[in-house]
């Protein structure tokens, strides 16, 4: 019985116990009537048998005639599963109405999927599409898709973008923008020293070298020149290019107050939620936000237990800012000042290698004057027409 059910799970059968009376005659009568029986197993004073669901209603008359008691042991099959729904028309109507509703609303955006761009870029893309009018719950038209595509193409972080909409799913395909090539200027400009120091190495790729290793240079001295007369006093021109590594000693200073005022969040926070879909927008609790303070707006697709719904939840967050006094202890102030000095060093000389450093600090009335003298190796060659950072 069980094996048969496994082979044919769609077949609906009834397992019956026929006991007492002339049960053999009952079996013979079933055969005469053409009722197919199977798995007939003799038991004490009767048999157990399996009969198709369509035939078991005819057994009672035959059993009564032979004084045999019938008892249903088990019902199995699709028919008996579906019979549970018999009379419960609300379930069927509800399922049909749900299917019809899904079919009618398949032109709405239920979910948005992105491919080809990073997670951070997806957030920006979602905001761009929202500004173009494309978000969950919007009724899609070809014009709207075209508008969204144009908005994405104007975004500089993607090289191309395409929007495909199919049965409630908006597929956003995009490729990140390639790095733009920077073309070097070919003007003949001298490379000069950006700081005083002693030259350690010169690697000139183009131009005419004016200083060599071991020479001391002052700030503004020409290191690699663009013009040089030849033996006939004819000026030759080149585009200087190269690297001049020098040992430089420079002092960076910073003043760090122990108490200073900043504009920081006060802790006062308000939020407002708006549900948007094809019927419009609904805000359950409307709030008036003050003019001052920071305001942030987040748009999130709505989903229930992982199932996307055609709606967008807009959260408007208002954060109050106020002037607050920041108090620093001595160690923190020192770290802040050191960080500022090192930041200035590496901004001015990228890739500098520090050899020695001497720190000096003086305190006067809640103010730290910090200076660090750094001896470092760095490339000091700069184009003469480029301003120092």
């Amino acid at each position: 019985m069980k094996a048969g059910t496994r082979r044919l799970p769609l077949r609906s059968v009834v397992r019956i116990r026929a006991v007492g009376g002339r049960y053999e005659k009952f079996l013979s009568d079933c055969l005469d009537r053409g009722i197919p029986l199977s798995q007939i197993e003799p038991i004490e004073e009767g048999v157990q048998l399996t009969v198709p669901a369509r035939s078991y209603r005819h057994l009672h008359r035959l059993a009564r005639r032979n004084r045999t008691r019938l008892r249903i042991e088990q019902r199995s099959g699709v028919w008996f599963r579906l019979r549970l729904l018999w009379g419960r028309w609300g379930l069927a109507v509800g399922a049909a109405a749900f299917a019809a509703l899904l079919w009618a609303l398949q032109n709405l955006i239920w979910t948005v999927e992105y491919s080809g761009i990073s997670l951070a870029a997806q957030q920006t893309a979602a905001e761009i599409l929202y500004d173009a009018g494309l978000c969950s719950g919007v009724w899609v038209t070809p014009e709207l898709l075209e508008k969204g595509e144009q908005a994405l193409l104007q975004w500089k972080e993607v090289s191309w973008a395409a929007l495909n909409f199919h049965q409630g799913r908006l597929m956003v395909e995009a490729a990140p923008a390639l790095d733009t090539l920077s073309v070097e200027s070919n003007d003949p400009v001298d490379l000069i020293a950006a700081a005083d120091g002693v030259i350690l190495s010169v690697n000139a790729q183009e131009g005419f070298v004016c200083k060599t290793e071991g020479q001391t240079v002052a700030k503004g001295d020409v290191l690699i020149t663009a013009h040089q007369p030849d033996r006939n006093q004819t000026v030759r021109t080149a585009h200087p290019k190269g690297e001049v590594i020098a040992r430089v000693e420079q002092t960076f200073t910073c003043e760090q107050p122990l108490r200073y005022q900043v504009d920081a969040p006060s802790g006062d926070l308000k939020s407002q939620y708006t549900l948007q879909s094809f019927w419009g927008a609904w805000t359950p609790f409307e709030k008036d936000f003050p003019e001052t303070g920071e305001q942030k707006v987040y748009h999130r697709p709505v989903s229930v237990a992982g199932f996307a719904l055609p709606a967008t939840l807009t959260e408007t967050l208002w954060i109050d800012h106020s002037a607050q006094w920041m108090e620093l202890d001595a160690d923190s102030a020192r770290e802040f000042a050191r960080y500022a000095c090192m930041s200035a060093l590496y901004t001015q000389y990228p890739g500098a290698q520090i050899r020695t450093s001497t720190e000096k600090e003086t305190w006067s009335d809640q103010l730290l004057s910090y200076s660090v003298t750094v001896c470092f190796d760095a490339n000091i060659a700069r184009a003469a027409d480029v301003e120092e950072p």
Binding site: E24, P36, L37
Partner: protein
């Protein structure tokens, strides 16, 4: 000779009611097929007695059961020890 005449000639060689006679097919390891069975006279796990019209057949064995029972066709399986034939009136079951 047409195809119709040929089939008629073949059917003339088959006696009347040939396909309505009771038949027994036994296959090892122990399945008995009974065609044109008129009824079930006894059904226990040790013996099954079938009515074949003028004759009756008694199947003795252990754990006997009917795999399927359709009109004119029965399949018996189990450990069959013996098959006895008798006229329907004379056979007595111990």
């Amino acid at each position: 000779m047409s195809k119709k005449d040929r089939s008629r000639q073949i059917s003339n060689h088959v006696p009347t009611g040939f396909y309505l006679r009771p038949r027994l097919h036994f296959t090892f390891p122990g399945e008995l097929e009974v065609e044109n069975c008129k009824g079930i006279l006894l059904c226990t796990s040790q013996m099954i007695r079938l009515d074949l019209g003028r004759r009756a057949v008694l199947v003795r064995g252990d754990e006997l059961r009917l795999l399927s029972a359709q009109k004119r066709l029965l399949r018996i399986c189990g450990q069959i020890f013996s098959i006895e034939f008798s006229s329907g009136e004379e056979v007595s079951v111990p």
